[in-house]
Symmetry: C2
Subunit: 314 residues, 2 copies
C-alpha cells in the first residue's frame, strides 16, 4: 500500500506518494494561488494528488490513506480546520471537501507535528519510540511523537512548543503573550538581537557581512560572524544558544523523549550550533547523572512535510 | 485480583490493598525510621504489606502486582532507584530486594506521577485519557497520564513539571538552575514572597494572622489575608496565581491534556485559588477559541499515593 502526503504551504502545495517506510516514490506540486477560497485549492490538491499517483505507477486501489500537513490545527471533535493562519482559513471542512474528489481516509496534522513524525519514521529519530522535533525558523514549531504516533493532545492544541513561556514578562509574542520560547529560539530572534547588537557595535564583522545594511542581517550572518569569533556575534549566538537550551531542558524535564531533533532554517548552522546546544543543555538537566535525550540535527529537510503527512494515516 | 500500593515517605510508609477500580480495601503503615539502610526498610515494607493483605481477607494468590510511589525515580534500564532524595537512597535495587519477600511483579513510580495516576483512575481525572496532576507543596511535582498510563519518559526523567524553566535567570532553584516553575508555584514561593511583602508592609493583615512572627507565615496565612482583601496579601496571591497560570499555559500549549488537577497543600485554598487560576489561564492560552484542559482541584488527598502506586501494575 502507498500513502498520499500533502504539504500545504502559503505559496506552494507539495504532494508525494510515499511507501510505508516513509520513502517518497513520486512527487508533484501545485501553486496555492492565494488569495482564493479553499474550494478550488482543495480541488487542485486532489487533482495534483491523482496525477502524482498515476505518475508513480499506482492506482487508488493501492492508496491506504491521505494525510495533509497544514500551517494550523485540526479540531479532532469536528474534523474541521478552525484556522490556518497563513492561508487565511477559518473553519474549513478540509476532510469532507477532499473526500469529494478522493474517497479515502484523510488525516490532518500541524506542519511541525507532521515533520516530527517524518523524522521519527524515516529521519534522524527513526527507531525512537518518542521524539521531539523543533523547527527553528520564523517561529518555533514543535512535533511530539510518543509511541511512534504524532501527539497533538486531547483538543488538538498541544505540541505548540514555540509557545512554552520561558520568561515571565519577557519579549512580546505574536500570540499576544509575553516570553514565549519562539521569541528567543527562532531565526527571528537571532535577527532581532543581531540588529540590536550591530547598532551598538557598528565595527562588528556583522557589518561587513551584511554590507552595512542591517536589513540584510539574517541568522546566517550572525552564525557566520560568530564562527569567525567576532565578539558581537558570539555574544548574540551565545544568548541564543542559552535560550534554546533552556527550552530544550524544559522539554527534557517534562517529556523526556529519546531524541530531540533540531530542524528549520536555523539548524542549517549545523554542527557549530549543535555542539554549542549540547554543551549548554548538559549542566541544566534536572537529573545530572541520568541519561537524557540525544540532541541531533533533523535529516529530512523540506521533504519531511510530505513524508510526515503521508505517515499520519499509517 | 487486588494490588498492593506502597507510599514511601521519609517519615512513614503507607500501604494499601487496592482493587482494580482504585478503591482502597484495607490500609496499614509502618515508620520509615531514617536514617537506616534500605534493607530493613524494604523488609518492613514487605512485612506491613503482608499483614495488611491478611487483614483485607486476601492472600498472595489474589495479588496481581505491587507498586511503590517513591520520592525519586526509577531507572527503567536497570530497575534500580538511582536516587530518592528524602531517603538518602542511591542506587537501591528496590524491585529485587522487595521480591526477596514477595514474589510478585513490582513497579516503581515517582510519588507525584503516581498521585496523578490515582486521580486518573479514581479521582477528579477519572475517565480522562490524558491528565496532568500538579502537587503544589514544598516544591511542585508533576504527574502526566497519557492514554491512561503514567508517563515518565524514555529515561524515567520526565514529568518533572516543577523544573520547567519559566523565567530565564529567575529565582535560584534547589536543582541548581534558575527560574524553575516550582520557585514560583510552590507553597515555598508563597511563603517567601509573603514574608518579603510583610517586611515591606508590617501593617498588613498578614502580621495579625502570623502574630507578628514572619516565621509563622504559611501559604494559608497569605490566602486567608487575601480572602479578606488585604492589599499586601492580594498582591502576593495575584503574583502567585499569575506564575502558576503561566506554567499551566505551557502545559496546555505543549501537552494539551483533558484535565489539569491541582493537588498538594496549596490546593487546600480550594475554590478561591481555582477560580483565580482559571481566570488567569483563559487569556493566555494559544488558541483562544478552542477548548482546552479543564482545571480542577484534585480529589483524593493523601490516599492518592497508595492508590496510584497500586495502579502502576494494572
Amino acid at each position: 500500500m502507498v500513502y498520499i502526503g500533502i504539504d500545504l504551504g502559503g505559496t506552494n502545495i507539495a504532494v508525494g506518494i510515499v511507501d510505508e517506510n516513509g520513502q517518497i516514490l513520486c512527487k508533484g506540486s501545485t501553486p496555492t494561488l492565494l488569495p482564493r477560497p479553499y474550494g478550488p485549492i482543495i480541488a487542485d490538491i486532489a487533482k495534483c494528488s491523482l496525477e502524482t499517483l498515476e505518475r508513480s505507477g499506482h492506482t487508488l486501489d493501492d492508496v491506504a490513506a491521505i494525510g495533509a500537513g497544514v500551517p494550523g490545527i485540526l479540531d479532532p471533535r469536528t474534523g474541521i480546520i478552525p484556522f490556518c493562519t497563513n492561508l487565511g482559513w477559518h473553519d474549513v471542512p478540509f476532510i469532507t471537501e477532499l473526500q469529494k474528489y478522493i474517497d479515502k481516509p484523510v488525516y490532518v496534522g500541524n506542519d511541525a507535528t507532521v515533520a516530527g513524525l517524518a523524522e521519527s519514521v524515516a529521519g534522524v529519530s527513526a527507531g525512537a519510540h518518542s521524539s521531539v522535533f523543533l523547527t527553528l525558523g520564523t517561529g518555533v514549531g514543535g512535533g511530539i511523537v510518543i509511541d511512534g504516533k504524532a501527539y497533538s493532545g486531547a483538543h488538538g492544541v498541544g505540541s505548540e512548543i514555540g509557545h512554552m513561556i520561558i520568561e515571565l514578562d519577557g519579549e512580546e509574542c505574536t500570540c499576544g503573550n509575553y516570553g514565549c520560547f519562539e521569541r528567543y529560539a527562532s531565526a527571528t530572534a537571532i535577527i532581532r538581537e543581531g540588529r540590536k547588537a550591530y547598532a551598538q557595535h557598528p565595527d562588528s564583522l556583522i557589518g561587513q557581512l551584511c554590507g552595512g545594511d542591517p536589513d540584510k542581517i539574517t541568522a546566517k550572518t550572525i552564525f557566520d560572524a560568530a564562527k569567525e569569533s567576532d565578539p558581537t556575534a558570539v555574544k548574540v549566538f551565545r544568548r541564543y544558544v542559552r535560550a534554546l537550551a533552556h527550552g530544550i531542558v524544559t522539554i527534557i524535564n517534562v517529556l523526556d523523549p529519546e531524541i530531540i531533533a533540531l530542524g528549520g532554517g536555523v539548524s542549517l548552522a549545523g554542527d557549530f550550533l549543535l555542539q554549542a546546544v549540547r554543551e549548554a543543555v548538559k549542566p541544566l538537566v534536572f537529573f545530572k547523572t541520568m541519561p537524557y535525550a540525544r540532541i541531533e540535527l533533523a535529516k529530512l529537510g523540506p521533504d519531511a512535510g510530505i513524508i510526515g503527512a503521508a505517515m499520519l494515516g499509517k
